[in-house]
């Protein structure tokens, strides 16, 4: 609560880690606003459509049906021990979250021009709220997946309790990546198009449609350095195969996420004072 705050604004000579920590404290104090913004996004999202929130269900299911038909029956990708539809959906859901969150967050600050030029609040609330909004789709998707798994006689393994932690790590990475993109997008509107293209290419380089064991050894580095690949592998291990994510990989994922977040947050805060002038 900024009840009787004193603030100094001036030409900022330096902006370091201590300022990032301060900024995070301020974000925490304004968490109610983050919540309001998230709700506001959710309301807006499906308000104008006939099916409304049903799109949350229709979207992943239709994708699953067509992709299963193409890649299981036509291309015949083998996923031993698990029906392809389940294998696919367990990769598709976290990927869809990542992709939708990044593209919606990228445009979020530019999209709130009327607010940004009028009143100050921590601007990172806008992209973070855009990302939180997409959590709903993921949770609904996960519930559908659990239902389908039961239907296929392959119920989720008990190791699924890892999922919330894995998701948290993925969320931290997503926020860290989205923040500087949202900032840059104010200076160059092309960034949102660039992000669209990059996400499409990234999708094919991430083992969503195919298992990572299909990748020849000499390309393996491409996947071990790819955070979404790391996350999706971990989800499949704990939900479908019933094995723990592996300490080493878990720590690696966590390290990448936290580093991305700190760098991303720092860059965003560094760009922030110019936002109102650039819109």
């Amino acid at each position: 609560m900024a009840r009787s705050s004193v603030y100094h604004l001036g030409v900022r000579k330096s902006f370091g880690l201590a300022d990032v920590v301060m900024a995070m404290g301020e974000l925490w104090r304004r968490r109610e606003l983050l919540w309001h913004m998230t709700i506001r996004h959710l309301r807006g999202q499906y308000k104008q459509s006939v099916l409304g929130y049903a799109w949350t269900v229709v979207n992943p299911l239709s994708q699953m049906l067509i992709l299963t038909f193409v890649f299981s029956h036509l291309v015949r990708i083998q996923t031993p021990g698990v029906p392809y539809a389940l294998f696919l959906l367990m990769g598709l859901l976290p990927w869809n979250f990542f992709s939708a969150a990044i593209s919606s967050a990228t445009g979020s600050v530019a999209g709130a021009a009327s607010l940004v030029t009028k009143v100050y609040f921590p601007r990172e609330i806008l992209p973070i709220a855009a990302i939180f909004t997409k959590v709903v789709d993921l949770v609904v998707g996960m519930a559908i997946l659990a239902g389908l798994m039961a239907y296929f006689g392959h119920p989720p393994a008990w190791t699924s309790v890892w999922v919330p932690l894995l998701f948290l790590i993925q969320l931290v990475f997503t926020v860290g990546l989205a923040l500087p993109l949202a900032g840059l997008n104010l200076y160059f509107h092309d960034v949102s198009f660039l992000v669209g293209v990059a996400l499409t290419l990234w999708f094919y380089l991430t083992p969503v449609l195919y298992p990572v064991d299909m990748v020849p050894a000499r390309y393996e580095w491409l996947f071990s350095a790819n955070p979404p690949a790391l996350f999706i592998e971990a989800y499949r291990r704990v939900v479908l195969q019933g094995i723990s994510p592996g300490t080493e990989r878990l720590l690696m994922g966590l390290g990448i996420s936290v580093a991305t977040f700190l760098v991303g947050y720092y860059l965003f805060k560094k760009m922030e004072p110019g936002f109102a002038d650039s819109i």
Partner: protein
Amino acid sequence: MRTASEVIRLEGVSKEFRRQKGRTLRELVACLMAGQPFWEPFYALHDVTLSVAEGETLGIIGRNGSGKSTILKIIAGVTAPTEGRVYVRGRVSPLIELGAGFHPDLTGRENIFMNASILGMSNAQVRERFQDIVSFAELWEFIDMPVKRYSSGMYVRLGFAVAVHCEPDILLVDEVLAVGDLAFQEKCLRKMKEFQERGVTIVLVSHSLEMVQEFCHRVIWLDEGRVRAEGPPEVMIPLYREAMLGHQMAQEAQLHPPFGS
């Protein structure tokens, strides 16, 4: 030096806007290739120093583009100065374009919570003042209706009601009272008087010299981003009127040169 009762202080504040020549990467590349700077500097404020004491009402007058709104934005923390220091103590509530944070699909009730939260109030504080806000806005029958069905007057009323119920220490007012019907305008003016009596600091930007005369303790005249003069309204307003009249006559003289020249 800052004095104890000072709540706003700008020291040697300049604001340079960098007008980007383009909004696409292609334009950036073209500019870089040609060896031209991609930015065009443009000064909105030049070395402005001013201070406002607690409970004081400061009026800022000046022609369009003289930097009045930029000063308000700097005080609100929306934009950072290019040079100089800014010191602000207390909660600032900007009455700059009311209802900017409204979402058309949300109801009046939901928008009150949303907008108050943007201004820094907690949900608990809003619940406490909810009755007062709705009564002030005179919107009881419409409070659960999406605001996209509100008339523009209702919209403004709700925005004003939220902003003034934030219990600001500093109120920034930018020409907003020109909207809404007369009765509501009266109500807003009364509310501002009440704020003054309670010791709230107000910074008022207005083209209405009558309003400045009536409300302000002190007036600053901005001209092309610089403080041209400063003083009590009784002195400043005639001075400003005279200068504007002179300016107008000079312009007319240019347009219609006197016979014989």
